[in-house]
Amino acid sequence: MNIFDPQGPIAAADATILVDSVAIMLAIVVPTIIAIFAFAFWFRQSNPRAFYSPDWAYSGRIELVVWSIPALTIILLGGVAWIGSHQLDPAASVQGTGSPVRIQAVSLDWKWLFIYPDQRIATVNTLTVPVGVPLNFELTSASVMNVFFVPQLGSMIYTMNGMVTRLNLRADREGTFQGLSAQFSGDGFPEMGFDVHVVSPLAFPDWVKSTAQSDRVLNADSYAELARQSVVTDKAAFRLDDVRLFEKISTQKLPPGPGPTLVTESAQSYLGAGHAR
């Protein structure tokens, strides 16, 4: 999950900006740190060779330099930020080879559901995508806020119930990578890691076909089952019955996931058993 090992153009661009920004700032920071040590050491009380100007409190020239150095650095970095923010806007589409794949991601407690509306399939905690193809993500949450993040493919984006966020990525090399949620979402949060399989553009349709033959169907009922608070270990694959399932989730036609069902016997009252919804 190394940010400095990007596998797609978005991640690569993000990482480049990161490195460049650090380099620009180090050019100022390193001399300043050296000066701090140097001045403190040279002007120590026990150094008889250092001059002592107890009342020297102002120098216009130094003030000018001291305001200018940070200001110029910030102007440069500001330009990087402006250009980078626009070029790497998550909602901006990415170029690639082949027709784009639409993926609708839903964060649940505590798993990820990936719906492929055009392929009529869905998977849990595993994302399979073809290499080099633009990936158009639409994201929402079934319950609480989460953040969809595949460090080696690029930018992260929030998922929120009742809303749809957008992200565009592309994977440029085949392999298996890791994704996770970057927003704490409750007791099962550490389990929200998922696999990202980047396969060749020929292998992808084969995978789609075999998944579409799954005996499990994703509809309102199986979705409600998934939405209950639980941690899953099997990477389930579904046929997609209802192409508009994601729309129903993101517009709350399918209600948000329920909260905790209390299983511990102790501390029932203060955990809110009396207020279970």
């Binding site: 991640a11 120590r44 966020t165």
Partner: protein
């Protein structure tokens, strides 16, 4: 009858909180019993609990902060230990417990360590530096302190009775809504902060009014010490920002208690609105913490370089610029929420702009050392450690302000390392610097130098060993708040951070040890003149500790570095032998209002958390009655007769003259 409260709220089946609660209760009982046996209660009640003296209240704030540092630090040790061992393993802390610990850690460190520490130092020192007798509203000052203590108490009660929030230190909805957090944890959090928030607001009003309306004769704004300027800026931020926190938490409370829909998933609630509101408070909050620290460093660097502060007006301008700009950057906390490139870029650039006045301050401290005579006393060590550490933290902060970089690093351990870098590097180091620097003023003896230096080095090295690995882990993709993980690449960095935590813990332990050693050696470390560091501002013109009235006669100020001029003048004039014209001094009377009011606030807070409505009513009536009783008081003040003032002052002046005689006055 008792709302949601019943015996199941006590964690009998959970060993770790049970043991922790047992230890804390035992410690508290031991202290209370010891104080009682030794007969200290009348003294404590008369001199400290009901005191409205800013010096006493300041000391109590700092004491609260240091005690809570131990609690917050213990949480930190537990978290680091868990992350060190929880690789392909569930560790020793189950998720519901780990999640409470990291939430409590952040909440305690920000609200009950950082805030009280800086507010305490400001309370203690600002009236002395301004040459006046007390803050603008002394009794209100006491109320503010005790309400803050109430908040701290409630959070600690959650360890024993019930649970704490499991949402992180900021309770983002919908996770913090009743649906997903049905327990009392979030309620402990919200009520504790609503109550202590009133305390903080009161302190803010008090200190702003003091700085703007209560300065001694001749002290114009541009003759105030830098610490007073940063106090002004920080407290203006408190007044402008804390009401936002009050309102936002109130909305969350209404959602949880009455089924309102501000932030729920259903019925049109808006989660993004919470993010905006809470960070509109949250960003100014960190500047509230850091600005007083900057002020402390200005004082310390100047004093221990034996040189006037470089670029005073520039520093004032930079301080006020930081104050204003800090309100314009809040969106950088959620670049990844999808606001769009224009909005993201604007807020990113605004966040970078704030680095400019901050950088100017660093350079001005640098040039204060230039041409000075630097003494490496403990406060100066903290200052130099701060300068280097804060620059690194600032670098990572400006990096995170570049939205595309943030798209990879948001909520990662890189972020965690960044904010610990700046908070520990600036606020904690500044707090320790100020604590060491002004300890003799408050208590009349210096702190032991050797343990102080050891504490500094362990804390400094411990900080780097703990948090530099976290930067790396963040760059390797590790996100924050993970109770366990399976990625092999992260493991070595977690182990390194664990080792660093041990060093940090030793550093804090040494700070505590230093206190005991210093108390034991206090006669050797005694400060007889009131000016142990050759200081430059007016607090050093008083004895250590100062008399209740601070100054027998309010000083007349003719320039910056007011006390330095007095000393130069005194040295040249062979210390003016004329006595000032002593008059009767009116001082505010002590009052139990603060303590009693806080007692009722604690009752109300606890009752609100557990839905014990009749107790809420009782608490509210009690609090109101307390204020009415206070309003009915006939004698607000007591008089110190001129003869008594003269006697105290002559003793202090004699001690000071004796010390100057030893040092040799004639040029």
């Amino acid at each position: 009858m008792l709302g949601k409260l019943d015996w199941s709220a006590i964690p009998i089946d959970k060993p770790i909180p049970l043991i922790a609660a047992g230890v804390v209760l035992f410690a508290i009982l031991a202290v209370l019993i010891w104080a009682g046996v030794k007969g200290h209660y009348p003294y404590l009640w008369r001199e400290w609990i009901t005191s409205v003296d800013h010096k006493r209240i300041g000391v109590m704030y700092v004491l609260l902060a240091m005690v809570m540092l131990l609690r917050g630090g213990t949480d930190a040790i537990m978290m680091r230990a868990q992350q060190t061992v929880a690789y392909h393993s569930n560790g020793y802390l189950p998720p519901e417990h780990f999640n409470q610990i990291f939430s409590a850690h952040g909440t305690i460190m920000i609200f009950f360590v950082g805030m009280p520490f800086v507010i305490g130092l400001m309370n203690l020192i600002v009236p002395l530096q301004l040459g006046v007798r007390d803050v603008a509203f002394p009794t209100l000052n006491s109320v503010g302190f005790w309400l803050t203590a109430t908040g701290a108490l409630l959070i600690n009660v959650s360890l024993v009775v019930g649970e704490f929030a499991r949402t992180g230190w900021l309770p983002f909805p919908p996770l913090s809504e009743l649906t997903y957090s049905p327990g009392v944890g979030v309620d402990y959090y919200t009520w504790s902060l609503e109550i202590s928030g009133i305390g903080t607001l009161v302190a803010g009003i008090n200190l702003v009014t003091t700085v703007l309306k209560l300065r001694t004769r001749g002290m114009t704004y541009l003759r105030m010490p830098m610490f007073c300027w940063t106090t002004l800026a920080s407290n203006l931020l408190i007044i402008a920002a804390f009401p936002i926190l009050t309102a936002t938490l109130a909305m969350l409370i209404l959602d949880r208690y009455f089924g309102f829909h501000f932030f729920t998933n259903e019925a049109g609630g808006n989660v993004m609105m919470f993010m905006n509101l809470i960070w509109a408070w949250g960003h100014p909050e960190v500047y509230i913490l850091v600005l007083p620290a900057f002020g402390i460093f200005s004082e310390v660097v100047s004093t221990f370089s034996s040189k006037v502060l470089f670029g005073y007006r520039s520093m004032v301008l930079a301080t006020m610029a930081i104050c204003i700009i800090s309100f314009m950057v809040w969106l950088h906390h959620f670049f990844t929420m999808g606001a769009g490139p224009d909005v993201n870029a604007i807020f990113g650039i605004a966040s970078m702009i704030i680095a400019v006045p901050t950088g100017v301050k660093i350079y001005n401290w640098l040039f204060t050392m230039f041409g000075g005579r630097v003494r490496f006393a403990v406060p100066m060590l903290w200052s130099i450690g701060f300068m280097v550490t804060f620059i690194i933290g600032g670098l990572t902060g400006v990096l995170l302000a570049v939205p595309p970089a943030d798209f990879l690093l948001h909520n990662s351990l890189f972020l965690v390392a960044h904010f610990h870098n700046v908070i520990i590097g600036a606020v904690l180091f500044g707090a320790f610097a100020g604590y060491t620097y002004w300890f003799p003023k408050a208590f009349g003896f210096r702190l032991d130098e050797a343990t102080g230096k050891a504490a500094f080095w362990f804390t400094l090295v411990g900080f780097y060993v703990t948090f530099m690995p976290l930067y790396v882990a963040g760059l390797l993709g590790m996100t924050r708040r993970m109770q366990h993980y399976d990625v092999a690449a992260w493991r070595p960095w977690m182990i390194a951070a664990g080792i660093g935590t041990v060093l940090l813990a030793i550093g804090v332990a040494l700070q505590v040890l230093q206190l005991f050693v210093s108390i034991r050696r206090r006669d050797e470390l005694r400060d007889t003149t009131g000016d142990p560091w050759d200081g430059r501002s007016l607090e050093w013109a008083t004895s250590s500790p100062p008399p209740a009235f601070n100054f027998a006669v309010l000083p007349n100020v003719t320039g910056e570095d007011a006390y330095w001029r007095v000393k130069e003048h005194a040295r040249r004039q062979d210390l003016d032998k004329r006595e000032p014209d002593y008059k009767d001094i009116e001082m505010p009377r002590n009052s139990p209002t603060g303590f009693v009011c806080a007692f009722f606030a604690t009752v109300m807070g606890f009752a609100l958390i557990w839905h014990i409505w009749w107790m809420v009513g009782l608490g509210a009536v009690g609090a109101f009655a307390t204020f009415v009783v206070f309003a009915w008081r006939d004698h607000d003040e007591y008089i110190i007769p001129a003869t008594e003032v003269a006697r105290i002052d002559r003793t202090n002046l004699a001690a000071r003259r004796a010390a100057l005689d030893l040092a040799g006055i004639a040029q």
